[in-house]
Amino acid sequence: MRTVSTSPHLHSGADTQRIMLYVVYALLPSCAWGVFVFGLRAALVLAVSLAAAVLTEYLLDLVSKESTLWDCSAIVTGLLVGMNMPPAISLYIPAIASVFAIAVVKWTFGGLGANWANPAMAGRVFVFFSFTSQMSTFSLPRTIKAVEVASQASPLSLVKTVASSGQSVGLTSMQILAQQGVATSSFADRVQAATGIRAYNVDAFFGNIPGCIGEVSKLLLILGGIYLLMKKVITWHIPVSFIGSFAVLTWVFGGLPLGLGFFHGEVLASILRGGLILGAFFMATDMVTSPVTHKGMLVFGCGCGAFTFLFRTFGSLPEATSVAILLMNIVTPTIDRFMKPRLFGEVKKGGAQG
């Protein structure tokens, strides 16, 4: 039988399902690291969020008489929800987050492509405000030297708590962590001895810090991000403008809350803490909820970076990345409206054509 269809009769091979699978592949190393340092409990959390997301998608498909499981977007959402959970969390919390993400954030707005917020991100924020204490208690990774405590605040919130108590004026965040007796891995100690790079940064880069399952290993997340760039699932615009604007603002103003003055922000440490890397490469780049033009993506990324910086530095909550991205998700349609590509042959006002 011969097909008659409108041109073009060739296709690039880009495909929704393949895009989603690429994202899953890019996330897996970081998940594996989370399971390695936090134990099988972390695997259980990941499994529960994944299962809850996929099951919710399946049940809603039955309701709306559709079939959307094949696009694999529910797998991405479930995985991201799990990665944003502390390892020791009660299992009903990731389940609630996944159900909320798929059913409320995605499905009620019309399913994949129609949601205004990144489902996983919104799911995380939802349970963060509902179960704040559980969501802020983190297990220590197994790579850290034995200490009495089994759980701890993340470095980000620890520094914030101390700084806001006003007892540490003039101390850098490194000094605060040391003062609080935060331990480092023996590997990081050796690196510090050999190269002078601060052990806290080394640990944060490799993922030897208390934190959410999938957001601790910056190394593996960055590698995953590079994989997505190579596979052309994402472009550089959002991660670079996000991290870049955050870095600049942190450098200029980041020292203020610690009483260090202007231009004393700890850029590297700030980038390596919290969910910034995961957010910049995997959450802010969510196609559905970010602008379509490259210009718009740059604006979006800068907005994410600026809000993350503001919330982190001057806000009352330790984590800021997800709220910042959520905020920019709201602005995305407006960005798309104003950041149109240049129409071919269009000359800027006042400019002459050569």
């Binding site: 269809s5 409108t6 009769h9 060739l10 690039s12 895009i19 559905v288 071919f344």
Partner: protein, 424 residues
């Protein structure tokens, strides 16, 4: 944008002439504009190259018989682009006489005479748009052309007709270009060729140098859709045509290399445009080739000449795979605008997902449109808004659909939206 080239099927195949088929179906509407008006009747005998239909309005073109033969019928025919129009069914004489082999000296023809000859020989743009050439190169008073751009880009995958022409008829093509040059008298004449046809560019350059012609060859980096007028003018002389404007508005005229060859034949031999080069190719064609075929030959004749199908194709396409028309009937005749006949395995995935807002179509659009936005407006019947968002600037080049991971029929929507928008 870089679609797969797939030129290797036919780019080494020298031009060959199709034997005269047993029946030709010559359409009255093989050019942009009004269909031509028949001047022959059923039962009439016509000579090779005899005029059988006349241009019926300003934008229209004469049609000539490709053979000597008898008009068996005048009936409706549906062309590959789904246009249905009147056509002559011609049965060729068993004996075909040689015609248009004697050289004519046209060197002292005036500009007007040259234009008249071009009109008389029914020459239209052979790049695909089939715009009557005499209209295009008659410059209205007060307008100035300082650049003549010759389109040798052939950016559509699979197609190799222009490539072979430039390679094998180098002198003739250049002579045709010089005729256009004489008519327009531009400051610059530039041939734009993509890098995958370096051999043709070299052949042209060598000949230009030998005869010290005022023609430049501009080798362009591969980039689809560079063969589009707007893109080509930008690539060769760095001028952008604003929305809704024509090449003339930036002082340029674009003529396809195939057209310049037709111009050469029209003047040097007095030969009307009644045949053209068609690339018969695709993964389902046994022996892909570049064939000189009489207008009105049926697709089945061309395919049979190319050794038939090596396997049953999913799709027959007239033209290139990015902008060509899929059709199903092998009885369909070719026309002046038929640059290729493809028989291919369908690689398209028809499993659509929702639009992910990924922006790949936006990045791919050479005009700077937002296809995803237009798609959503058109599917919601908001045609006027789509027009306000520059829908009419869309060239239907196919870059958006080609890139779309959700496999949305973006080009289809654009075509439909334009139609609905024009109605209002």
């Amino acid at each position: 944008m870089h679609p797969p080239e797939r030129k290797e099927y036919a780019n080494s195949k020298a031009l060959v002439r199709l034997p005269i088929p047993s029946e030709l179906v010559v359409s009255m509407s093989q050019h942009l504009g009004a269909p031509a008006k028949p001047i022959k009747e059923k039962g009439d005998h016509v000579e090779k190259g005899e005029k059988i239909a006349l241009a019926s309005s300003f934008i229209s073109a004469d049609v000539h018989s490709p053979v000597s033969g008898t008009i068996k019928d005048i009936r409706k025919v549906t062309m590959a682009n789904s246009v249905t129009c009147d056509a002559f069914v011609i049965e060729p004489d068993p004996q075909q006489h040689e015609a248009f082999t004697k050289k004519v000296d046209y060197q002292d023809y005036s500009k007007e005479k040259l234009l008249e000859e071009i009109k008389d020989k029914g020459i239209v743009g052979l790049g695909g748009a089939t715009f009557p050439l005499h209209v295009k190169i008659t410059i209205p008073a007060g307008r100035k052309v300082d650049a003549l751009v010759i389109n040798g880009v052939e950016c559509e995958p699979y197609l190799t007709a222009d490539h072979r022409l430039m390679l094998e008829r180098t002198k003739e093509v250049l002579e045709g270009i010089m005729i256009c040059n004489r008519i327009l008298n531009p400051a610059r004449t530039i041939i734009g060729i993509e890098e995958n046809k370096k051999d043709a560019a070299l052949a042209l350059e060598k000949e230009i140098e030998l005869r010290s012609l005022p023609i430049e060859v501009c080798l362009l980096r591969m980039k689809y859709p560079q063969g589009d007028e707007k893109q080509l003018i930008n690539a060769t002389i760095g001028r952008e045509i604003p929305s809704g404007k024509l090449p003339l508005d930036v002082g340029a005229v674009v003529v396809n290399v195939g057209t310049t060859y037709a111009v050469y034949e029209a003047l040097a031999y007095g030969k009307p445009l009644y045949e053209r080069i068609v690339t018969v190719t695709g993964d389902c064609i046994a022996q892909p080739c570049n064939v000189i075929a009489p207008i009105g030959a049926k697709v089945k004749d061309l395919i049979a000449f190319a050794g038939g199908f090596s396997k049953e194709p999913d799709k027959l396409v007239s033209g290139g795979p990015m902008m060509g028309f899929a059709f199903y009937d092998e009885e369909t005749p070719i026309a002046k605008g038929t640059s290729g006949i493809l028989a291919i395995t369908d690689e398209k995935d028809y499993r659509k997902s929702a639009c992910l807002n990924c922006g790949k179509c936006v990045a791919a659009c050479p005009i700077g449109l937002v296809p995803t936005k237009l798609y959503s407006l058109i599917t919601h019947a908001r045609y006027e808004e789509a027009m306000a968002n520059h829908l009419m600037d869309c060239k239907e080049c196919g870059c958006c659909s080609f890139s779309c991971p959700a496999h949305l029929d973006l080009v289809h929507a654009m075509k439909f939206g334009k139609r609905m928008g024009r109605k209002k």
